[in-house]
Every structure is written in C-alpha cells, then in structure tokens.
Amino acid sequence: MQSLPIRASWWLTAASYVWVWGVLSVAWPPRPWHCLALALLFGLAAWVTTQRPLPGVLLTAGGLILLGLLGIGPETPVPLGPVFITLVVVGYLCSPRWSVWAIPFLLVTTAVPAQWEIYSVVFGGLLLILPWWFGVQLRLRDGRRRQAVANAERLSRVDPSVRAQRAAATEREEVAAAAFGAIGRSLEEMTETATVSRETLRLEGITRIHDLGEGATRRLRELLVLLRERDTGDEDESPTPGTDRSPEEAGVPSWRRVLRDGWPVALLLLDVVTVPWAVSALGMADPPDLPTMPFLLVVILPLAVTVFLRSRFTVGALLAAAVILLVGTLAGIADVGREGFWLYVVGVALSWSAGRAGTRSTLLAWLVFSVTTWSLVWLDTQYYLWIQISVHVLSYGAAAVWAGHHAVEIEHRTRALSRQAEIEAAEQAAVARERLRLARDLHDAASHAVGTMMMQANAARVLRDRDPGAARAALDAIADIGRESAAELQGIRSAAPPAPRMLAEAATGADGRVDLAEAVAPLVATARRGGAQVSTMLDVRTDPSPQDVALLLRVVREGLANAMRHAPGSEVTLEVVVDATRVTVAVGNGPAGRVPGQDVPVTTSVGLGLGLRGLRELITERGGELATSSDGDHHELRADYPTSSTARPVVLP
C-alpha cells in the first residue's frame, strides 16, 4: 500500500474540512463549535486515509457514526463529501479486492445511526460506487503510467549499436554455417577426387569433379538468392508513435463510446423519471414529486442531449447547459437548487469533460456554466452553494489530473516506441549490411574458387589424351584451390582472418595506403594460435599499395600454412622488405617443435608444395619470382615482385 504525496493529502484534507464545515454551518447555524469540531475530525480522517488507508477508513466511519447519533440524517449531504473522498483515496491506494469492502462498510456506518430509509440506502449505495470506481481507475492508470515511464527509461539505456553488432554477428554465424554446409562438403570431395584422379587421369573422376562443382554452384546460387531476397524484403515500416488520442480512441468500439457518453443521461432520467414513477407506482411512503411536462421537455431533455454530446462539442455543451438552466429558472420551470440529483449529474459530467479537454476555451466555457449554476443555486438557497462549488471544481480538477496522467503515460509510451524503433532499425541495418558483406564474401571465397576448379576440370578433360602432364597439373591446381577455399570458408565462419584482399582492404587507411603491420597481424595471430612461434621483421621503406599488400598476404599465408603443416610448433620467421620498386617476402621455418594437443607432426606428401601453384602463377604474371628452398630441417618460401606502380608490359603471344 502506498500513500499519497503530501500536497495531494493537504488538498483532500482541506476539501473534506471545507465541505463539512460549509454544509454544517448552513444546516446547523446555532452550533458553530460543533461544526468546527466535526469539520476538523473529518479533515483529520481524510489526512489519515491518505497516509494509512485502513485507520483512515475507521476514523471516517467513526465520524459518520457520530454524525448519525447527533441526528444529522440523510436530508443533509454532510456525509457525502468525506465518504466520497475516503472512497476515492482508498480505491486508489488499495487493491480493488479490499477497497471495495469500504463501500458497504461506510454505507452501514452512515445509514444505520442516522436511520436512513431503504430508498436512501439503495440509492446511496449505488452512488458510492462512483468515487470508489474512480479511485480504482486512477490506480490502474497510475500503474500504466509508471510502467510506461520505466519502460522508456530502460529502453533509453539500451545502446542500439551494441545490439546491432550482436545481431550482425548472429547473422554472420547463421549464414556462414549455411554456406559451409552447402558447399564445404563439395569442395572437400572435389579436392579428394582431384587428388585421387591425378595418377590415373580417369574420365569418370574428372567429370565427377565438374558435377560436384555444379551441385555446389547451384546451392550457392540458392543461398545468394535467399540472402538478397531477405535483404530487400525486410523493409518493415517502423512503428509510428501514436498521437494523443489515437491509441485510446482507435480501439474503442462504438457501443462502448455510446455507453461512456450516455451513462449520465441514464442517471439523469433515472432520477427525474424512473425512480419517482417506480416509487409512486409501488405506493411507498413519501414519494418524490413526478416531473412536470414542461420541466421534462424544456430542461431535462435538452440537458440530456448536451450531456450526451459533451465529449464532441465540449464548449457548446457547456454553454448550452448554462442557457438551458437560465431559461428553465427564469421561466419558473426548474428548481435549480433543491435536492435535484439531476443537477449534480449534469454538473459532474460537464465539468469532467471540461477538465479533460483542458484547453483555454473549455476552461472559459466551464466557468460560464459553473458560475451560472452557482448563481442560480445561490439565488434559490444558499444551502447547496458550497456543495455545488465543490462538485464542479472537484470534477474539473479530477479530470485534469486524470488527463495529465494519461498525457505522461502517452508521452513515455511514445518515447519508448520510437526508441524501440530506433534500436530495431539499427539492428536491421547492421544485419542487412552484414548480409551484403556475406554475400560478397561467399561470392569471393567460394564461388570463384568453384568456378576455377570446374574450368580446370574442363582443361583436364580436354588435355588428358593429348598432354597428360598438363592434365595432371590441372588436377593439382584443383586440389590446391579446394584446400585454400575450404580454409577461407572456415575463416568466414570462425574468427580466423578473411581473404587477403579483404585483409588488405581492412588495413587501408583513408589516404589509400596500407598499414602493413596491421594487415599481416591476423595471419600471424592465427599461426601463433596454431602453435607456431612467429617472429616478424617488416622493413617498409615506402608504403605499399593495396594490390601489392594483397599479393604479399597471399605469400605470407601460404608460407605460414606450409610451416604449420610441415613443422607445427616450429620457429617461423617472416621477413618483408618493401621499397619503391620491389616487394620481397620471405617466410622461413625450422624443425617442428612441440605443440600441445597434437601427437604427430602433420606431413603429407600430397600436401608438399602444391599450394604454391596458384601463387606462382600470380607472381609470375606480375613479373616476379617465387622460390622455395629447403636445407635439411629448414624451409623457406621467398617471393620477389615489382610494386604495382612499376609499369608492366603487355603479354603478347
């Protein structure tokens, strides 16, 4: 159970005091001290209720019993004020399951000592539901407001870029796994088949390589289509934050709206028409007067209309009601001021709508309406003036508070929604970017390799009869490429470094020149992870261009891969010299060392030297040289080529 803020407590205490004092001093003029005492008592009861509901209710009940014993009966509305205030506060502070019991409790403590009649009891009971219900609604609304604020708070602390990164990483994992599944197996098989068919040059083997390649290509194509489709298809509209009225109004069905607009009309008619008629029909004692026809037609019916239309035409309704009351009073038809419950219904309903709207024009219209009503009441009898003032002002104030809560709730909800949209947009953008990058990576890493392998298979097929040596070379090339691209695919999948071209791109600064150390680092790191003890010597006299670096990285990668394959755990030296005209790369390794977790050094005759083929082609084409040398346990891979700024001659047949 919470308690109300201090300011609200003071207001309610004052309201309770003023009400009791105001009403009693009019009804009980000869006993001013009793009035004061009772007013103070109820003021105190209101205060206590706002801080501790249960004791407050008991205190209020005590006060009500006292009133009853003093003979202040149902003809005065004295108990109404404090009871209303108590019920609203209790309904707001306590869970509805408990607070609802306050209604019968307070009713009993009011009615029994004052000896109310059944009619009053029933009517009073029904009436008391209203403030309790209002309190409960405020409670619910407050809960929603708090939640909206908390939600907005939480979301504002979420960093969209972190979420975006995570989403992109997940996407990468998923897609890479899919790609690997799609073609990894094929690449392996193609490599195997090429190796096996090398000696025999059997036709079935060679055609099988091509067939495997076709399968892989088909699956890759499907994957790319999927990636692209998802990329362009994911254009969700970000949720537009709702405007002030729409989230609430949009979902309200029309029958509910009619109910909401119409319930005061129902009450109105109930008080003026139904109940008196029912009572007189049942022949009970002291029936209220039946309404006259002019009263019904000139006052009640038009008022019913204004009340029904109060949401849509607030200003109009308020002014029209003022006019109707004025006309009715001047014509002597209506008794504005007697115990007309209908007047309260009209006052509450219209004041609530005015408070809800909260604009300047509605405020002015409401003042016109209220002042008119109060003046008419005062002219008739002073007795009810305080009550009327309180009823109008409290309704207006309560509605303003209600609307204020709502506005805060909506504002925070809007903020939360737009923040959510922001986060989602960042995630989607990151995922989309990642997908495009993945599509390109896949394209680069896998598809070109497969295509080249298939073309080499073609060459092998064409050449196997005429030039078996060349056919064998082709099959060797297929095996090389297969291994290399399988490794690249693995690289896409795990955190291993990507293809050399991408490494070079990544290390390229804004000025287009490449930071060599940064470019080489991932490869060295991978080698070190694999157990090699790598030491690097980079002698960079001029900044190399990205193309030079890409080729350099290929050499480094090949050298490191060889070293790891033939002599795992060995000492590896990497030397790079870059000057204006030439690039020299040397990767050397010593004998195999101990690598934790590996039993036997991995050396296969098939693996020796075959990865160099494609590399040699590349370098020769650049006008450079690639050489391998071994000296007992020591092996070295050395490449030497001119920088890309040096002109290359056109190759003529």
Binding site: N458, L463, A477, R613, V650
Partner: protein, 217 residues
C-alpha cells in the same frame, strides 16, 4: 580463325579456359588480361574477334571494359563470364554493350559453342533466360501503343522482326511466323542492327524492352 582475348583476375581460370579453347582448331587465344582496361586495350591492339570478360575484376571491372570496347570502335564482341545467371551486374554489362554471357560452370563443349555462336551473331542463350534477365532489371515504362521513338526509323516488317527477336525466336522461327525465308530475315536483322546502331541481337532485345515496345509478361 577466331581470335580470342581472355580477361579474368584469376590466373588459374584463364589457364583453364585457354586449355579448353586452344584444343579447338578454329579458336586461338591471342591475349590474357586481368582487368577491364587491359582487356579493351588488348582487344584493340591484337584485333580480337571475341573477348571473354569476367565481370568483377579489381581496378577496372568487366562492365567498364565492355563500355570501352563498345565506345572505342573496337570490333571485338564481349562475352561476359559469370558464376551465376542472376548476377546483378550482368544486366548492366548487357546494356553496356556485351553480347551475351557464359557461365563459368559450363562444360567445354558449351564454352566452345558459345564462342562460335556469338561470333556468328546468333542469340546466345535461351529466350527465357534473356527475357527473365531483362525483365528483372529493366525499368520500363508501360508498353505504349504505337511505335516508341527509339524504333521510329524501322519499317513495319522490321518491327515484326524486332518483336520476334525480343521473344527469343531464332531466324528460322521468325521466318516461319512471318512467312519469310531465313535469308530474308537475316537481311532484316542486319538492317535493323545498322539502323539502330546496335552490335547484335541481344542489344535488340534490351532496346525492345527498355523502349516499352515489348511489355513484361
């Protein structure tokens, strides 16, 4: 003797292609390039008939290479090499002036036939593929009734032939439809190419769709 230039940044792919093409007596590879600029230069210097051009190459790519060939008055025809027929750059290559495309995953026989076909000026691949490709990427205004300005200079007969080409029909099929002999159709085709300053049938298909003369299905 058909003189061929190979352009691809992957040396091994070029080597494989070279092996496949060299096995044929009427085909000879006169040069190899690794980017679009070099390919265009070689095609001119070496007086090539056909350039087999990869689309994605570093520095100057295949599309730019085709553009240079087409605009530079080089007579070589460009055949694009691609892994996938849904390559989004393929259409740009066609518009730039390429005469067709060839999948890198093709069999040797297909490769050789493609080179010969494009040299003859025949439409290279199935009508469905062309149409699908063009439809996927062309941003056509809805088909106008009447003749679009781009095709104004053609006679009615020639327009019928254009319609046939756009639907992917061969010369024989067009002849059957219009009750003309195959040679007559061939003559119409050369007139059309001449009037519209187009290199080959593929360009006719592209123009037919782009101008709105033929609508999407």
């Amino acid at each position: 003797m058909i003189r061929i230039v190979l352009a691809d940044d992957q040396a091994l792919l070029r080597a494989g292609l070279r092996s496949v093409l060299s096995a044929e007596e009427d085909l000879t590879v006169v040069g190899e390039a690794s980017d679009g600029a070099e390919a265009a230069r070689m095609a001119q210097v070496l007086d090539a008939d056909i350039v087999l051009m990869d689309i994605q190459m570093p520095s100057v790519d295949g599309i730019e290479g085709v553009r240079r060939i087409a605009s530079g008055g080089v007579r070589a025809k460009a055949l694009m090499l691609t892994m996938f027929d849904l390559d989004e750059y393929l259409y740009s290559a066609l518009r730039a002036g390429a005469s067709g495309f060839l999948l890198k995953s093709a069999q040797p026989e297909e490769i050789v036939r493609a080179v010969r076909d494009v040299h003859e000026g025949e439409l290279l691949f199935s009508p469905t593929v062309t149409r699908r490709l063009v439809e996927a990427y062309v941003r056509t205004p809805p088909p106008s009734d009447g003749v679009p300005p781009a095709l104004e200079s053609l006679t009615e007969r020639e327009l019928d032939v254009v319609s046939g080409i756009a639907r992917g029909l061969s010369n024989a099929e067009i002849g059957a439809e219009l009750f003309l002999g195959e040679t007559t159709v061939k003559a119409h085709v050369s007139h059309i190419l001449g009037k519209l300053a187009l290199r080959d049938r593929v360009q006719v298909v592209v123009l037919a769709y782009e101008s709105g003369f033929v609508g999407r299905q």
